[in-house]
Symmetry: C2
Subunit: 373 residues, 2 copies
Amino acid sequence: MTNIFKFNLLTNDGESRLGVLSTYYGSINTPAFMPVGTSATVKGIMPDQILTTNSEIILCNTYHLMLRPGKDVIKKLGGINNFMNWKRPILSDSGGFQIMSLSSLAKSAEDGVSFKSHIDGKKIFMSPENCMDLQVTFDVDIAMVLDECIPFPIDYKSAEKSMLRSMNWAKRSKKSWIPREGKGLFGIVQGGIYEDLRQDSVSMLQEINFDGFAIGGLAVGEGQEEMLKVLDYTTKKLPTDKPRYLMGVGKPDDIIKAVLKGVDMFDCVLPTRSGRTGQAFTRNGPINIRNACYANDISPLDENIVNPASNNYSKAYLHHLFKSKEILGAVLLTLHNISFYQWLMRSIREAIKNKKMAEFSSNFLKTYSSGSK
Amino acid sequence: MTNIFKFNLLTNDGESRLGVLSTYYGSINTPAFMPVGTSATVKGIMPDQILTTNSEIILCNTYHLMLRPGKDVIKKLGGINNFMNWKRPILSDSGGFQIMSLSSLAKSAEDGVSFKSHIDGKKIFMSPENCMDLQVTFDVDIAMVLDECIPFPIDYKSAEKSMLRSMNWAKRSKKSWIPREGKGLFGIVQGGIYEDLRQDSVSMLQEINFDGFAIGGLAVGEGQEEMLKVLDYTTKKLPTDKPRYLMGVGKPDDIIKAVLKGVDMFDCVLPTRSGRTGQAFTRNGPINIRNACYANDISPLDENIVNPASNNYSKAYLHHLFKSKEILGAVLLTLHNISFYQWLMRSIREAIKNKKMAEFSSNFLKTYSSGSK
């Protein structure tokens, strides 16, 4: 068996797709959710614990890792998987979004982006070529091209100009990326909320030929309805034999609705970040474990989700940990939330397999919005 | 097989003792180290992870748990073991020390101690009887009598008066404690640094008859030499058929030297607390993982200590986590440090068994003080 990077589409249920993405470090069942491990760590969680959530791939960030610990350290440690002791697939975000949102004085030009590090103010220039060099050195299973991130809302002319620049960068990225066994490179569709721009972007990326296609520039404030509209006309144009990744999305209901539009992969900080502040996802919607009503609640978060964090600890204990500002509270809610997301993805995959995605999603969404405390 | 609370002394090597303490939730090989889980959590660590450190018992604190979550919640959850999902022995400190060090306006009288909660300023009164009621409700395997904690230094008259009050409290504690299968109660020897007071205290506690004897009022600033002097004349008076617990101690060299004086049990915040700040214990002494010399160090903390935290992560990665203020750094160093302490205890037990305690301790101490960064 070779470690060829490939995507097998197993079956469809309407637009929803069931597939398997094979990479150097293993297979990923899709639709898939990727927990965020920005700086080569899913915050507070050991890799062995990530495995207990049934996650098959995690996401790291090129921008953060470039600044700290830097390319040389990761190279010396033999790549990001060895560095962080995670022996499963990793996708690295290219950092385009983080440069715009975290660094100061970011300035984009045709050549690349100049910015100041949010850590020490050091001036840095990143080109599509630098970005590929970093991700090839990290040796991630899935690398992302550098793209230009634009604000929302934005006028047509500016969106077009930025999309064309991103497509030029995509071409340069592909050219400088070094193909290796089991490793893939994804292009990123841009074009704001303009249908023809999105479709032009898809065509140009297909021309360049990538191993997968991400849909970028969404979840930036456009709202769920607008996002689904963009997905609708974008995924229809995407090739069926390559995985589709909706970047930075989202809430459980966003994910279900995007799967119904044919999306295969997701990442979002929500289960991890909100877990650290006391929000726990449940089938009946999110709850805040700090709420006084949980102080005496002997029930676990979810007996049917197979993770120790979901079924071996009472809400009363989790409430106690958060009231006492104990780190273990953040750890347990992070584990539970990721496990909840992975339970959702498994349920989605099961539903697609059984051609019951419409039924599953309608039932889930009804229960999920039924009420939370 | 019944769950009788009992101590079996297996062998001696000089004053050093090898034993097994059996309790309701299992057996503890002595000399033993108990990681501190003050508020029903070893900070940042899941119970399953505590097991990977080879810890056989942990310590909780009556003072903290009484204030939060309170007796009723723990009762409703069926005791502290169920509450925190730790199915191994727990010893609860009575809280005498914490009342004095954490609460404000603490005032000790013959009847008990009045103080204000460090959380919400609420006025609370704790008597030896309250303290027993709490620990019986928590249903810990080992309860500690309430004792009066005195400052260091203190004059003879004050030390005597306080010791006599503690002995009176010990008597009342024993009277109000409810014996249950596999559960034990320890008395606490007081008397400051005065030999005759310590010996009087031992006699009085033996008269009351406890399941084990703690040595309290040390590690409060008297220094190692003075501490060892007190241990020397105190342990000689203690019965050989009951476990001896030196409270709040200590550094690896303190532990070794106390074992040489016949101590069986220890607890200390050092491996956990210092782990959270970047200090890692090694055979060559403690190191600070934030030090720049570790930024590129591909070696793990200790390949021979059987814990993933000790051998699956490079110092470079741990350094990165601390520099990035990532919670996982604290988690991994806590796990490593506890594992280091448990490695030390296993080595000590092995040495006693082979009558090589003198040789082991001299070798360990020589290497341990050889240098650290």
